[in-house]
Subunit: 421 residues, 2 copies
């Protein structure tokens, strides 16, 4: 977004300096240009939306319960939906009562409210790095100290976490993790590490926030039990964005009744309630759908796309590159072992009509400049193959330029150009 | 809600002490019991929901643009909807470009984000008193100093406001006002006072937040121009909750591009985007509806209810009572000139199967104990008549008890009983 003079800037709260616009969200405009192949956003494949079923449900809803669907609902969400969410979670070994559930306007709202309830100047939160920018945004605005634990192939580096916890210079309030098919890293936390993490949190009396946005989208192998099934104090976040629709904004929190009540009070101030129409649609959808068949279908769509992307990366990407091999979800993380900057490279990629998310937006310090997140969820396999070929050319050119003597053949970086333009 | 022990309370942010559950929201459970007549919530009359039209729109949406309606959308809201909101506002003399608009998840979300952007410890905001509890909740959590200006029959007491502004001990960031058919007071800010308020804000270089949630619901007389049409720096909040449906959660902010961009960045962290399905439904609704006829119909529904309530109050309520005579909207404010406490009176009213919102929830100090907000929007005229008769008996009994010698005939108040129960 272009810089606009703001006459009222002296009226803003200090925290406004921490307000960052997410690169992923800002790229949505570019992503929708014709011929653009986008590996940027985390938009589910429209093929996974069951529009026929949803059309029927909406028609019947308006026919039979229209007045109810258009009215305000309770802040905590409709009891019927919370019951069905309990049933849904029982499939992964979680036993919940509807009183332990609050419906949120997407899981993103849960992150915002958790930030509001737990974070303030002088408080700390522990995050994985790289981490989901939506969580960074939601948490940072409350001015906490953010401590980071690097990710490995099998998830969080537990030894690093142990070190951070033993320091305790600033008391951490929680550890935020995406254990399954990490956004952006594509890695999954192993069972052994889940047990260690759960134990560490108990010993140190801090909460775990388990964001399981992608848990339903496993492509192969056994599903690993959620942290919440190992440590009952875990605050569990779920969403219907990946299995029903992101456009209806339905997420939830599964936590203690005490915390649910606090989230409820905060949600009253945040948006009064989540769309009743969306909630009733979700209820009817969960009732009507053959969930096993539906999940099998959407997992297969995404599995083929992941396979296509990995095959194309192997075929086209230069030898300086490496990438994660996600067992599910939407994302794959690519690191280029060369002196390139994926943010500065973006204009060249846009020229070639392909976009991705530069790595540095997933970090709080200056890391990630030679990395990028590639989403395989939205483009078709054909587009994935074509897009990776295009992107590989851009990357190779950047590597080539980075090795050419500065000042003669090297193109100036955008940041260096800006002062003279 | 009952008190629950929270093992994790030491992890919460300091601001959690400011988190109040709204009496109105908490009464929603009681309001839905059979035979209960509720003057509590601000639920629009279901008669105003055009379910036939909405059924047709939803069917066609899923038929023609289902994949789009179920997908994520831009954080600022769909361009098409923002255009239609501009058209809608042009009816009341406001000229906006879609770039000046951001769609929010109800106007409540706008209040939360405004709190987040402007308020912090050491900052002040000026509110009317009594004021909308949803605004109090949204603002207080950010720990500002809240300064209050009493309401008169023609809106804010401008002389009091002038005094507060001349003090300037803590710099106020904004003045929050509901100029039309105030919630809860039912009063409307006169045109002269609007001009004075707009001028005062300019002179003191502070913002006005104009919450026009009820502006479309005028029952009689000329509509007074919005503050935003007098002072272009005003931040204007609108909603479709009162003319289309509150259950789909569509509100908006009309402000400078600079502020819209900041709200956009904050909304990314708050919920990514507002329901695309809701937005597309709103677009099609605004396209299809004969707005003049529709507004005429719903204003007439609410006008009859207001008239019924005032007639019933005149007939049944004791002489110690007085009330406002709203020219539109949902609410009427009753003050009982006697030593009664409307919070303590609530169990007696529940016994008589009638509820209201006790006055003190609309104040930050200890005022409003002898007042209550009565909503005439949701019950039918028959229920209003019957409910006011029931409530009058409860009030008369309380006045009687308040005048009986303490310790002999006076029923103990709930707060006095609680220690022995």
């Amino acid at each position: 977004m272009k810089k606009i003079i703001d006459r009222w800037s002296r009226l803003y709260a200090h925290r406004i300096e921490l307000l960052k616009s997410s690169a992923t969200r800002d790229l949505m405009g570019a992503a929708s240009r014709p011929d653009m192949i986008s590996f940027a956003g985390g938009l589910p494949s429209p093929e996974t939306f069951d529009t026929e079923l949803i059309k029927r449900i909406l028609f019947e809803l308006m026919e039979n319960s229209g007045k109810e669907a258009l009215q305000y609902g309770p802040t905590e969400g409709r009891y019927e939906l919370r019951e069905k969410i309990c049933n849904l979670m029982s499939r992964i070994g979680l036993k919940a009562h509807p009183d332990n559930i609050i419906i949120t306007s997407g899981a993103q709202q849960a992150l915002d409210i958790i930030g509001k309830l737990f974070l303030e100047p002088g408080a700390a939160a522990i995050l994985e790095t790289p981490s989901y920018p939506g969580a960074l945004n939601a948490f940072q605005i409350y001015e906490p100290h953010i401590l980071t634990v690097p990710l490995k192939e099998d998830g969080m580096d537990i030894e690093q976490l142990r070190k951070i916890l033993s320091r305790k210079s600033i008391p951490p309030r929680f550890i935020y993790t995406i254990p399954n098919f990490h956004n952006p890293a594509g890695v999954t936390l192993s069972l052994d590490k889940r047990k260690e993490l759960a134990k560490l949190a108990s010993e140190n009396e801090i909460l775990i926030i388990e964001d399981n946005a992608y848990g339903d989208l496993s492509f192969e192998g056994e599903q690993i039990p959620p942290l919440k099934s190992i440590n009952e104090d875990v605050v569990y976040l779920g969403t219907l964005s990946k299995i029903l629709s992101p456009g209806i904004r339905i997420g939830w929190v599964f936590a203690s009744v005490a915390l649910i009540q606090k989230i409820n009070a905060a949600k009253q101030g945040a948006d009064l309630c989540t769309s009743t129409l969306s909630q009733m649609l979700a209820e009817q959808f969960l009732d009507a759908i053959d969930l096993d068949a539906h999940l099998k279908k959407i997992r297969e769509i995404y599995r083929i796309r992941r396979d296509t992307m990995i095959k194309a990366l192997e075929e086209f990407f230069p030898e300086e590159s490496s990438w994660t091999k996600p067992l599910g979800g939407f994302y794959l993380w690519v690191v280029i072992n060369a002196d390139i900057n994926t943010t500065d490279m973006m204009p060249e990629a846009l020229n070639e009509k392909v976009i991705y998310v530069p790595g540095e937006g997933f970090y709080l310090n200056n890391e990630g400049k030679n990395a990028m997140r590639l989403s395989f969820c939205n483009p078709t396999p054909e587009q994935i193959y074509e897009g990776i070929e295009r992107l590989a050319e851009v990357v190779k050119e950047q590597i080539h330029l980075s090795r050419t003597i500065i000042g003669i053949n090297k193109k100036p970086r955008r940041s260096e150009r800006s002062s003279t333009e």
